[in-house]
């Protein structure tokens, strides 16, 4: 019985309302924090940082964002890409308009702007539900990309319509964006962001706003009848979700790829993030991380696996296989646990709790 609450009595509700009421979990989180902040930066190679860690963090933000909207508030969205694009371009405009605005505020600002856009496209959700709502968000997806592509103002009239991240620093001289920034600096900067955002999300979802979201998700009529305002609640979900997606987009453009053309946020991204959320677990912040890890790591592993195994498979065959295995794994995990990796994790813990007995 390695994992058990037995003997960990909560003497107050406050204590019971901690994010991680159980000691083992707190320890685990602590370890992860140390690992992420202390150990990884020391050992991660540039390749690992730039192609695994950073995209993983960026996607986690997006996944948390979408999870708030789809997983918690139950509003299916396929507009994530569009909102991320909004974030990226907002960040670009902000940082080029106000060159000495601190990058942190640039990111937050782009988040806020995206939140507004999100609300705009969230309004139909009052009337339109389920898969039909997807259309509203798809409209956002395609319209926004078109807009950024079409209106040269967004790209400061660059002929190609591609924007590239201006170099920016924090604490005066530590470069975190642009080509001259060191990858570890980027990583740590992003990590802190992600940490805070995740914490905020977790808190929101366990306070009354979060409960309102879930109520709307589980049964909107009943929710309204017990006094939850549908419009405000849904819009708040859209706003906050978009806020996250916006920051994710900004991070994508400024920290990950360093340059962005609207096409980079095509519908595929929207689907990717949706997979992350579902594979990771709808309505679970932790799940968002699992999902992001799954979606970011798996392709990298699959593409490199043959090489590591010394097999010599032509690249096209590799990526076809990658597709097949990837699809198969999605299905496999859904069958094993439809509620995603997060739920699997829980069940694992429950089994640990019962261990060595089966049940």
């Amino acid at each position: 019985m390695l994992y058990r609450e037995a003997g960990q009595f909560k003497t107050s509700y406050a204590a019971d309302q901690q994010i991680f009421p159980i000691l083992q979990d707190r320890i685990g989180i602590g370890l992860i924090a140390v690992l992420a902040l202390g150990v990884l930066p020391l050992f991660a190679t540039e390749y690992m940082t730039t192609t695994i860690l950073i995209p993983f963090l960026v996607m986690s933000i997006a996944a948390i964002g979408l999870n708030i909207l789809t997983g918690y508030a139950g509003q299916l969205s396929l507009g994530t890409g569009g909102f991320m694009a909004t974030g990226a371009f907002a960040a670009y405009k902000l940082s080029t308009m106000f060159p000495d605005l601190n990058i942190v505020f640039v990111f937050l600002g782009s988040g806020v702007i995206t939140a507004f856009v999100g609300v705009m496209f969230g309004i139909p959700s009052l009337r339109i539900k389920g898969f039909y709502l997807a259309v509203a968000t798809l409209a956002a997806q395609f319209f926004l990309l078109w807009l950024f592509n079409k209106v040269p103002w967004f790209t400061n009239y660059s002929s190609s319509g591609v924007i590239s991240a201006p170099p920016r620093a924090i604490f005066g001289d530590i470069m975190v964006t642009g080509s001259s920034a060191h990858y570890t600096a980027k990583y740590l900067f992003l990590l802190v962001f992600v940490g805070l955002l995740a914490l905020a999300a977790k808190n929101l979802t366990r306070c009354h706003l979060g409960r309102a979201w879930m109520a709307i998700r589980d049964m909107d009529i009943a929710a309204e009848i017990i006094g939850i305002k549908p419009l405000q609640t849904k819009l708040s979900a859209f706003a906050i979700s978009s806020f996250y997606c916006g920051i994710a987009g900004a991070a994508w453009g400024f920290i990950y790829t360093g340059s962005v053309e609207p096409l980079a946020f095509s519908i595929e991204i929207s689907f990717k993030v949706l997979f992350m959320v579902i594979i990771g677990g709808l309505g679970s912040i932790l799940g968002s991380f699992f999902g992001a890890a799954f979606m970011v790591l798996l392709p990298v592993i699959l593409t490199n696996a043959p090489h590591l195994l010394g097999l010599n498979i032509p690249v096209d065959m590799i990526s076809h296989l990658e597709y097949m295995i990837f699809g198969a794994l999605i299905i496999f995990f859904l069958i094993v646990e439809p509620h995603g990796l997060a739920r699997l994790w829980q069940i694992g813990k429950e089994k640990l709790r019962l261990w060595p007995f089966p049940y």
Binding site: I347, E350, L354, Y359
Partner: protein, 283 residues
Amino acid sequence: MSQATLHAVQPASSPAAAEPILRVNNIEVIYDHVILVLKGVSLAVPEGGIVALLGANGAGKTTTLKAISNLLRAERGEVTKGTIDYNGRSIQDLTPNDLVKMGVVQVMEGRHCFGHLTVEENLLTGAYTRGDGAAAVKRDLEKVYEYFPRLKVRRSSQAGYTSGGEQQMVAIGRALMTKPKVILLDEPSMGLAPQLVEEIFEIVKQLNQKEGVSFLLAEQNTTIALKYATFGYILENGRVVMEGEAQRLMENDDVKEFYLGLAAEGRKSFKDVKHYRRRKRWL
């Protein structure tokens, strides 16, 4: 844990005399691989018998029925131990569809109508597995309408918009349309007006006597359940804690007090029940 039941659970006391059409042998059910719900339930339904399955909320009645009708899988639950036989042959690995074909049908707790289909269409889906021609189906449809005139009135409105009780009728009628030999009724009286409850049980009696349909009914309304049943089981926390002929059960003091509300001093008003009685009886 000790199972100090009044009547030790031994086949002798169960109606094995008439070779049971349905026999559940000491089954265990687990949900989600971790939640153990049935901890060894055994029961038998004799050919042409009406067996009542009683017990508090969460005792495991629904689970038992679903285990028999093989609907558990759809709930990510599984039978991990024990056997379930129908006419002497094991049915655990059959699909619900096979079972219905063989005459075992369940009326699910909480109605489960097809919201977008009209009342009549709902009833007709019940006839899906039947091969005995449109005429026969038509006849049975009329029969169901006789049983539940209200449904005839609402026949063409979407089931999703009918009242709770109406939906309950649809659910039962739908099951009747499958020409069953064994019906697993889960809380048939739920949400039905008093008369209707009586009627439902009258229908049960008729089917049982006229067409020899056997019943296993999970019912909370113990009074009426035992009135119509021939045999009864009482479930507590996933265990059969008591069983016997309906008559015998009705005479049992505990049953009298806790299920029939007939304390020694006779039926007492709900108003006067002062304290909540917390009593875990046979466990």
